[in-house]
Symmetry: C3
Amino acid sequence: MGLIHEDRLFPADPTTRAIARRLYETVKDLPIVSPHGHTDPRWFAENEPFPDPARLFVIPDHYVTRMLYSQGVRLQELGIATRDGSPTETDPRRIWRRFAENYHLFRGTPSRMWLDHSFATLFGLDTRLSAETADLYYDTIADHLARDDYRPRALFERFKIEVIATTESPLDPLHWHGMIRASGWSGQVITAYRPDPVCDPDFAGFHDNVRQLGELTGCDTGSWSGYLEAHRRRRAFFKSFGATSTDHGHPTARTADLARADAEALHARVMAGAVSAQDAELYRAQCLTEMAGMSLEDGLVMQIHPGSWRNHNPLLFDRFGRDMGADIPSRTDYVGALKPLLDRYGNEPALTVIVFTLDETTYSRELAPLAGHYPALRIGPAWWFFDSPEGMKRYRDLVTETAGFYNTVGFNDDTRAFTSIPARHDVSRRVDCGYLAGLVASHRLDEDEAFVVARDLAYDLARKAYKLD
Amino acid sequence: MGLIHEDRLFPADPTTRAIARRLYETVKDLPIVSPHGHTDPRWFAENEPFPDPARLFVIPDHYVTRMLYSQGVRLQELGIATRDGSPTETDPRRIWRRFAENYHLFRGTPSRMWLDHSFATLFGLDTRLSAETADLYYDTIADHLARDDYRPRALFERFKIEVIATTESPLDPLHWHGMIRASGWSGQVITAYRPDPVCDPDFAGFHDNVRQLGELTGCDTGSWSGYLEAHRRRRAFFKSFGATSTDHGHPTARTADLARADAEALHARVMAGAVSAQDAELYRAQCLTEMAGMSLEDGLVMQIHPGSWRNHNPLLFDRFGRDMGADIPSRTDYVGALKPLLDRYGNEPALTVIVFTLDETTYSRELAPLAGHYPALRIGPAWWFFDSPEGMKRYRDLVTETAGFYNTVGFNDDTRAFTSIPARHDVSRRVDCGYLAGLVASHRLDEDEAFVVARDLAYDLARKAYKLD
Amino acid sequence: MGLIHEDRLFPADPTTRAIARRLYETVKDLPIVSPHGHTDPRWFAENEPFPDPARLFVIPDHYVTRMLYSQGVRLQELGIATRDGSPTETDPRRIWRRFAENYHLFRGTPSRMWLDHSFATLFGLDTRLSAETADLYYDTIADHLARDDYRPRALFERFKIEVIATTESPLDPLHWHGMIRASGWSGQVITAYRPDPVCDPDFAGFHDNVRQLGELTGCDTGSWSGYLEAHRRRRAFFKSFGATSTDHGHPTARTADLARADAEALHARVMAGAVSAQDAELYRAQCLTEMAGMSLEDGLVMQIHPGSWRNHNPLLFDRFGRDMGADIPSRTDYVGALKPLLDRYGNEPALTVIVFTLDETTYSRELAPLAGHYPALRIGPAWWFFDSPEGMKRYRDLVTETAGFYNTVGFNDDTRAFTSIPARHDVSRRVDCGYLAGLVASHRLDEDEAFVVARDLAYDLARKAYKLD
């Protein structure tokens, strides 16, 4: 039987499934275009082996650790480092066993699909992970990781990644990206400009970050004009490392379009020290509109990822820091929030603003109607918790009738879990082929068109929307 | 193959599809009852030929122009008239070609289904519209439009429209309706009372409109009692042209039930000139409750269409005016908003208030529970962006279990796109038959009952809810 | 044919249906665990026959009466008692006929499924209820109700109820529960602690209730510490009658974690008399966090049922009182609202807080992400209007991918309609088996695992989450 079935995720109805298979056959081997994600460029720069199964699959994957935590497993038992240095599990095999004996918790989740896909296709495993098979798994994976053809670059090539974007702070020297380029390796790893550390007054170290931004660029970031100029220079620097996009992870989608003098005054207040919640929100809002303006100048595609309440669990944050699975979606408004930016730049066909959501109610009510009207706006794929079979189906069902396919931008894996990348793209291709097969089976789309759209969704739209051509 | 398939929109599962076919067979030829829409009564009064394919299918259809606009086509290229008279495309064939070469944008949208249905059933076209077939389409359609049997009245009869309601302002003299009646033609074209121009202080020309309302009726609309009496007289006038309903298109569903003196004071403030946003909202809210009271008196069915943020794109509005595809849904509350009206009139079985929504989250959370309780309340069909196969399925899935079928009111095409009317009713009948077939196949409804309900949804409920009998 | 089909609610696709059947076969006869509901303990204490068909199926069932009311049937015609004693129908057969002749209104609703299930399995009826069969139904049911094997305890055993929880106020002496225990009957009927009457300042008679709470416990409920101590004592008393849970039905999910002095001052203000809306909300909020703390002490599982706008219809409330079908869901926030409680207790694996919702938008956006992270949090099953086939499907589709199965707690029938209990559990088992069959058919779950999960959802999770072992 094996861990993964060749018909997985296809609709059960035989007619529809047959169409889905035909469509999938033509897209399954297309190269992977990964225009947005969080892999570590250092992997590709140094090309060191991944250390062990626990450090590859458990410790860094907040999907995995959050589920285990929700069922009473302590993060220390999973080897998560504590901020105060208090003890944590260090034996990767013990961590792995703890994971394995709780593997039933992942039934019905996308994590289960991604993990099984990796286990089967990368490590040739064909019995289910469990307490009983934990050591077999551990040994098999560990053996493979020691091999040269399991180093990051080899996997990159095995995965047929045509291009992958990482995400860096404006303060990042892009050292690893430089090293990749200097190495002569042909793998295309590009960066993306993520200025939250200098755009969000609530970001840890914000004032220091803005000061550093000034130092890096030789601009007076104490003034609004110097601050904006510093952004322009870093964007140009990022472009020189292949960046075609920026990314903005704000608590809300709010934008603002202040008069110049008001923006200057706001900047001065924000720089002066303690920032009110209201000013912080307004500053982020103004930054988004400024970034849109710069995108119109320099051509970088703008991504907005709003609506995550970061670090919702203060106890966990104090003990372990960020990205511990305690980021919770919240209700998000777009229609009012994006209006200042859209009023200014929404009618520009030369600008691309890709908006994501963690509030699925906005697909049909807000995002599809907005993207189905404004030339500058596109809808990003189902994100984070919704990068899942049912999440993707809801996305297509809720978006397509109003926005069509061509106001969407293909798939983002958006992951730091490197081995899950082929699995995630495969899920997306299968679900989209299943969706298209449903349209064909109900005679809403001709089959010859479905082949075109299947390829668009799997490959062409991502290249085009992110200007990767 | 052809453009439309006889099994389109039916569920793929063979058992369920067979049931859907059987149900559909019994409703597909029922006459069309169109109790709410925006066709132009002048068409039926003058019975002039439709001018050309572009003016029939492209220029007036904001579903079509918004999608093209979202992908970078300028509205001038589509022949949309500018407000300042600056040049716009005038050659209908060039407009048609631009539409045709972008027809792939409509894949998966209801517009595609409606258009293909018209192309196939009205003009005998059987190859897909594209750049290549643009001229064939243009010539074929143009030839037909020149024929007497393609004039508005002939199409009305061909479509088997039993009754159609248009929508007019209280200031409308109903000239075209008078001409239709005077002509002796048997087609039943009735009006509906849409008092937004005199109920919404934010409506363009509001103060002038209220003044005109006074002149038309001989009432002193400067006073609250005179204003209300003017409504009563215009409603009676509309009834004399067959009206059985009113319609209210407000930004929110808010209602109010002010004490008489407070309402009078509000009216005085509103009439005095510059109206605050708060007063404007309160005035609209009070008007809704007054209209409900008048409906209880004169029997007109009341429709509320809230939740559209009109003219969200100011640049487009300045250049081209209203109804350019820039109306965006917004989050809408009903439970609190409707309470003042319901507190006053919700328990009246003799009153019918039909509520629509552009916020699908309210179907199961608010509208079905409200309509499943209040005798005066009914839920209108899936509206606007949701007048689509998936939109209709969600509607039934989310509404039926709490409100049943008999607190819904059948289908509204709600369109100004005349040729799409049979297509839209056909989509609705197919989707409803598919939904019912699903209930039968999963043994939640007996098949003999499904035949009754299919007819109710396609025909009887609309006649009954809108008092068309 | 009969009223109920053996394959009802299973997916139509033959492959998927066959899997669903196999799964269902293994869970259909499992005992019923009913950890939360509103049956009357007096039934089981006195074991008197149910009086007549109308008083069993119509008068007390607000699902039934609300639908009839929404279509113009007056509550007096259904035998609902008026508060002022004005006349109401008293002939149960006439009430039954009125219900029967309107039975078509329930097409497509869960009430129809529950009723048909009872009619068929309890009373052997096999033709549909209608005006024509009303008397046949009435006589058949009435005859059965007179039999000893249709008394409450006999039905309890026939239904294979392993344990059922009722819900009582802290002021309830638990007389009937005592009588059940004293009787020697083996049926396990336990209570649950529902302190709304003394936690919600807006509850009718609140001040009196708090005073009574003091008298019952010998605590000075005028002081905050005495008030809290009184809760502790009543909770212990409830535990002595088998309670394993508390339940909290607040208008919102808001929680608070005030400093001791602030809580004391709030209590003093609330006790002093007229309570502001703000204080009432804060008091409820603080109570929830206190209850969570006590649950950590005494082990009672905490349930929160927020988001119902009670008695939305004041006219009906004035005439007939509470629970007349006029409770309407409202938009509910959890991410911000629960934060104070979660900040304090969310990381405690020894605490179980089960949260319910009437706002389905929160399943994927808020509840699954929260429950998929916080060890103390679980998601209750689809509730009230959503205790329905489509409601349950949406629940699984929206919850599982983020929270898995093991952050859910099995099924609650949550009903006062005793005879509907087997029907409701059967619906839940069928829908869950259908859902699991879908995962198996699309190769997202192995069939051997599906058997385990089917049993978990039907039986084990409820016992475990509610600490019934």
